[in-house]
Symmetry: C3
Subunit: 341 residues, 3 copies
């Protein structure tokens, strides 16, 4: 795809080549995100960070990514604080806001809303989640993390074996990641979910037709052996008809260090899109995994900044100028970014 | 008026000369707002953008205008998030906040509140709307738009013919615009409103005494012919005693392309302060006008950035230095600002 | 204490030497906070200003302080807008957010929460108030104000006589200030409070054992004579068993100009942590004090910016570089900062 001036709305826009380009630029962003240098390449540029649905992590991640390129951020955080409440259409809002800023990031609770908004925006729009539909930067940062984790183990992206655990029916992160992974060769998807929350049949068919292997598991233990990646998501108990039904699965998909040691290959990477529910009853990743060096969940969020910086740089056509506007960091920074490479 | 260090609270502060000065500076801001250049003239300056009432468009517009001059923006978006909720007076809040920043923009639901706040502020305060009272930057951007639209048609501001449609009784945008227009020669105001929502008699008297022509219309068609500008506002149905009463006017003041073609002179400019209610039952400007090149509603919001930049530059005394701190734009920008000139 | 890279969580971290260092740096910040110069020393640095509890004054003060050092600010203002609502632990939130920014300021309604957050943060965390527990920057700005006010009267910090008025049982500002003052020689604390809201016995014991004088008063007049400082706080009426009980104290602790003239020594400094409740029934500082040059309450909030700038500069290790990145101010600034020195 051509990035300059484009909207980033869906993972369907990408092929292996465009993903490679994003990841190469993301690699270039590391010294800036890791605070070894700063860059002023987007000095004077303005991001409108429009979140019409609560979010801290994703909103701050996008905002910091733009700041790290030298740009300014204006922000909205609530639907009720908006002209939308007075009956304004999304297309009008887009026509207006795109006269104020250079690029817009948008999250909105309704599927398709960000695309509708983008249709009349005069500046590039990045989808930060439109309800159950898409959250392409999450899928990209997951894929980027997988690539880096595999690379640090001397592996590439083809022939990957991945266990996907939890609510595979409604989770937009899982759907988008499955699509992106399918761009690579002969992936083995091990799907671990309650029967009620399995991946859609059509998606499974599509993956198989594209030459990938898909196996279904209702118990975690049989699914997490012989994989490179264990990707855990929240089992949304509110999806079940009643609590008794939900309780049947409680604990089945709870990964801890003992289970990991017993069932996983050494160095199996543990991922999660976060936030994870840390309350005792819900905990899908036990606290005792925190010392496991293969727990990549915070490397995922660190990588999110790199990927978002890369998208801004590509869409605004400054990817090749970033280093020309570099300066040294003047302040104290902890050497806080864990490396596997 | 003298701008440097002044509060901007009301359109009553302006005469033709000061408006001319604002508009000249606004013209100078175009290359920056249109992203052809950036300027760092306000590097290090801080705006406190205090919105004690929901707003997206106006808040973001002020914030981006300040960013486009190189300044930083701190923000508050809700009255409940404020010390005001603990019984602090506006005058105390002003004494405190004016020690933090270089200029303050404030919106507040109560008439007179922004003036009260300004009375103890140690830095200039710009009124972004104090309830039903004033919203001077809206009136200025409307007037600036009229000037530019007229200019592009080879016309000046005197002898203007304008139709004002909708709720003329309660709409602060209309009141302020009427006052500003009255500074020019022999305006013809055609007032199109339900009898219940007409402009106040005293205002009409004032306009007539100042040498302007005022005519009253209860049907839209007879009012929109032979005018240069059609300025539509929302007819606030909740003002009527009951829905049956409101229904009598529904559709009377709904402008669409067919009505425009049949009744308006060619090139009649269509304006609206926005947001417009786009729900079918309420739509006062039909979607089929979107391709009409005389629909100026998004040029209005674009112009709002220019006018707000101009006010910041004048109040902070940097209007003549803006170009000295200019730099080229490094990133991709769409050629997105429609020109009529 | 060693500042570089440290968390600032409690006044217990400080000794006289470290306080002296903070105040020396705060003095150096004056030309920047007073808008006589700007500095770009933190250009490219990012503060995450995380307020999980409503606040305007403190939040804006921290944000402006960081902007005045040249840094960028990202912000959260509400607990419900957060992943915390989905059951995420504070330690996870800290692990994630500390990958986005260079320093974090945090306010949270629960005692100990900011310390828990800091325990897993990879960047320095400054406590902006954790419920009833601590608010160290408030105590520091109070102490800094006392030092400056005393200095302008040719006095030092030892042998200080201070009247503390209001709710001394629950007010975190008072507790922290008492602790900091105790680092100096032979302070005389005059505690003026309803018996129900007196300072804890243990605290009084500690102060006495450390060589300080403590006297208790239930009437204001007998406590405010022969002191250097009158520090007024809000008497929180909701703490009393019923309104009749609260009414007994209403007016007892209301300071006005007449009482000041009759009972206080000339030049006694009047302080208050603000916001003060200005509603007639609650007013603890009468409006007629506003012209009294010894009313230091707005010098306190002005000083808050200096102290917060100093903490950022020390923690991020740029205190000695600030002047190297200085530039002239290009815009109009009122000479608005009252000086006593």
């Amino acid at each position: 795809m051509e990035f300059v001036g484009s909207h980033i709305l869906s993972v369907d826009q990408f092929d292996r080549g465009s993903i490679q380009r994003i990841f190469d630029v993301a690699d270039d962003m590391a010294p800036y995100a890791h605070r070894e240098r700063i860059t002023r390449v987007l000095e004077g540029a303005i991001l409108s960070n429009m979140f019409f649905e609560p979010s801290t992590r994703t909103r701050i991640s996008f905002g910091c990514a733009f700041n790290m390129l030298g740009g300014e951020v204006r922000e909205t955080t609530e639907v009720k604080a908006s002209a939308l409440a007075k009956g304004e259409s999304l297309t009008d809002t887009a026509r207006v806001l795109s006269g104020y800023s250079d690029v817009i990031v948008m999250r909105h609770p309704e599927a398709g809303s960000v695309g509708e908004f983008a249709s009349t925006s005069r500046v590039p729009v990045l989808n930060a989640g439109d309800g159950p539909n898409e959250h392409p930067t999450q899928a990209l940062l997951d894929l980027y993390t997988i690539r880096k984790e595999m690379e640090s183990r001397g592996r590439g992206m083809d022939y990957l074996r991945i266990a996907l655990i939890g609510d595979l029916k409604y989770g937009r992160a899982v759907h988008s990641l499955c699509k992106l992974l399918a761009l690579y060769e002969r992936v083995h998807y091990k799907l671990i979910a309650p029967p009620e929350l399995g991946l859609q049949e059509e998606t499974i068919e599509d993956l198989r037709e594209a030459g990938h292997q898909v196996s279904l598991h209702h118990q975690m233990e049989s699914g997490i052996d012989h994989v490179d990646i264990v990707y855990v998501t929240r089992t949304q108990e509110e999806r079940f008809p009643n609590q008794a039904e939900a309780d049947k699965y409680r604990g089945l998909f709870r990964l801890n260090q003992a289970i990991y040691t017993q069932h996983c290959e050494p160095n199996t990477v543990i991922m999660h899109p976060l936030p994870r529910d840390s309350r005792a009853m819900a905990q899908e990743l036990d606290d005792d995994l925190i010392e496991n060096p293969n727990l990549a969940i915070f490397r995922q969020t660190d990588n999110g900044v790199l990927v978002r910086m890369a998208l801004f740089a590509l869409v605004l056509d400054v990817a090749d100028q970033v280093h020309n506007h570099a300066k040294p960091v003047t302040w104290y920074t902890a050497r806080r970014f864990a490396r596997r490479d």
